[in-house]
């Protein structure tokens, strides 16, 4: 049975329909990327999963609990990092963790706080007021706050917003490691697709208030990438036919050519042919990224 199961969920604010007929599921131990443009309804969806707002129709089950009726049970097993991090700026990093440890009734809080401060490299800054923290430090402290009570599910709303590339790398690699070590299910909301490609085990695409597609990268690739486009760095001449073994070619620049293939299997066939007479310095996939899939889905292209 799925850890999170959502069926035909709808939510309205006044006259505006924010979520409509959302279906979603997440298995235990997964890292799911919830992707979609700003305003797609991702934050509202997380709020509904945590039972802080109520839906107008549909079913939600989180670890067997109904968030609308058993919200506290859901919130006991879930940790959340909201976009604003929700930290008290007039208190130090350590005071913030002590406060939330009290609210979440964390046992052996002192040890847990020291461990998390060490883990997120905040030991040195623990006595500083959070108002004086950098964005990266706040995000790390927010994550430490969310992990205080060893949650079973972690909800992260735009966890890398405002971080520099190094900060993004640290946060994402930590999440991957944490998931591997503890088996915690993680739901990451983001609109920055390329960051999540190597972190998530599956993806859900949200658009205009509904989840339009969900699956593992490989499944999505098979479904949405019908024609593979690769770029080769090679001096191989394609003129005048613009065709190698029947595959359509296009010269991008002096040493780069772009070729359209039917599947991944065609790559080795093509390379064998080129390597007979010319070297190949690099091969780059142009359209099998998460981003390509995302745009395919948004354009309504089912292959």
């Amino acid at each position: 049975m799925s850890l999170i199961y959502v069926s035909k969920l709808s939510k309205r604010y006044g006259n505006e329909l924010i979520l409509k007929d959302v279906n979603f599921k997440a298995d235990e131990g997964e890292i799911i990327g919830l992707l979609g443009p700003n305003g797609a309804g991702k934050t509202t969806f997380i709020r509904l999963l945590n039972g802080v707002i109520h839906s107008d129709s549909g079913t939600i089950t989180v670890s067997g609990f109904n968030p609308a009726a058993q919200g506290d049970e859901v919130r006991k097993i879930s940790g959340i990092v909201t976009e604003s991090a929700g930290l008290y700026h007039q208190m130090s990093g350590k005071e913030n963790l002590e406060f939330f440890a009290g609210i979440y009734k964390v046992g052996a809080a002192k040890d847990q706080i020291s461990r998390l401060l060490r883990l997120f490299d905040l030991e040195e800054h623990q006595a500083k007021l959070v108002g004086a923290y950098s964005t990266g430090m706040k995000k790390r402290l927010g994550l430490a706050k969310a992990l205080l009570h060893n949650p079973k599910i972690l909800f992260l709303d735009e966890p890398t917003n405002g971080l520099d590339p190094e900060g993004i790398r640290i946060v994402l690699s930590y999440l991957k490691k944490y998931n591997k070590e503890t088996g915690t299910t993680i739901l990451i909301c983001s609109h920055v697709l390329h960051q999540l490609e190597t972190v998530c085990t599956s993806f859900a695409f949200m658009d205009r208030g509904t989840i339009v597609e969900q699956g593992r990268l490989k499944e999505l690739e098979e479904k949405y990438i019908k024609e593979l486009e690769i770029t080769l760095e090679t001096p191989f001449p394609i003129e005048p036919l613009h065709n190698i073994l029947g595959f359509e070619c296009l010269r991008k620049s002096d040493s780069y050519i772009t070729i359209k293939l039917r599947s991944k299997e065609d790559i080795s066939v093509l390379l064998k042919e080129i390597l007979k007479s010319h070297p190949v310095y690099s091969v780059v996939h142009e359209n099998n990224s998460l981003e390509s899939i995302y745009f395919n889905i948004r354009e309504g292209g089912n292959g």
Partner: protein, 274 residues
């Protein structure tokens, strides 16, 4: 309901009050004005000024009209004694009531709207804290400092009044029945009422300023009391204070019931965070 969660919330709010300059200044400046400066000026006037020549006929008439309603006027021979006795027992209590009202009003308004403005209310609502724990924690965190400030202010003003009073009357004149009812009964009840009103208001409005503006209306009945007393419309004696206390108890019970009905996470979240 878990007491440790409430205590955690109260401790956090008190740290917050101590570190917020504007809140802390309100907690210091208001009591200093009403409980140190005004009693000191009244004491100095009673001890050193020629009240008879200083006050106009209207004011003197007012003092006599109040005294006329006080049964125990023995020992009030000089006009300075009469001025001091009247001011301390019949005018100062209304002013003193402004201390718990203003402090509780600022702290109560800050309780929810402050969290909302700093975007931390979301963190609290996403935690497993129950709405009852949240409301009781917030009410306690506003009540304890307001009450403590009122109690300390009362002690300080008591020392000032008694020092001057002893020089004037050769005996302790403070606290009188009015003051005892005020401190033990009316002041904590008014503090609670102010906080409850502010918690209701601040769970509905979105900015601290808005909460304060609406919450400020609570000062009006006290000013009305003061004006009523000064103009001789009514007389604030112990019976009057007790009667007001009973009315406030009823108001507080009604408001507490309303708050427990308001305690819906969903509506608070949608109202405050949107």
């Amino acid at each position: 309901m878990d007491k440790s969660v409430i205590l955690t919330l109260v401790k956090k709010d008190i740290i917050d009050i101590k570190r917020s300059k504007s809140l802390f200044i309100t907690l210091i400046v208001i009591p200093v004005i009403f409980c140190v400066a005004i009693p000191s000026i009244l004491s100095a006037a009673a001890l050193f000024a020629d009240i008879e020549n200083m006050l106009d006929a209207e004011s003197l008439k007012l003092i006599h009209s109040v005294l006329g309603k006080v049964e125990q006027t023995a020992g009030l021979e000089t006009i300075n004694q009469q001025f001091f006795y009247t001011a301390i027992n019949y005018f100062l209590p209304a002013l003193f009531l402004l201390v718990p009202i203003i402090t509780a009003s600022v702290l109560g308004a800050n309780s929810f709207v402050g969290e909302k403005e700093r975007r931390t209310l979301e963190s609290l609502l996403f935690s497993p804290i129950s709405m009852k724990e949240l409301f009781i924690g917030k009410i306690t965190a506003s009540f304890v400092p307001s009450f403590a400030v009122s109690a300390v202010s009362f002690l300080i003003s008591g020392i000032i009044i008694n020092s001057a009073g002893y020089l004037l009357f050769n005996e302790w004149i403070f606290p009188s029945a009015n003051w005892i009812i005020l401190i033990l009964c009316l002041s904590p009840l008014v503090t609670m009422m102010t906080i409850l009103i502010n918690v209701i208001i601040s769970s509905k409005v979105k900015t601290f300023q808005e909460a304060q503006n609406i919450g400020g209306v609570i000062v009006l009945p006290v000013i009305g009391m003061l004006v009523g007393q000064l103009s001789g419309v009514f007389f604030i004696g112990p019976e009057f204070l007790l009667a007001i206390s009973i009315v406030i108890v009823v108001i507080n019970i009604i408001m507490y019931k309303r708050i427990t009905k308001l305690s819906d996470r969903n509506s608070l979240f949608e109202n405050q965070i949107g």
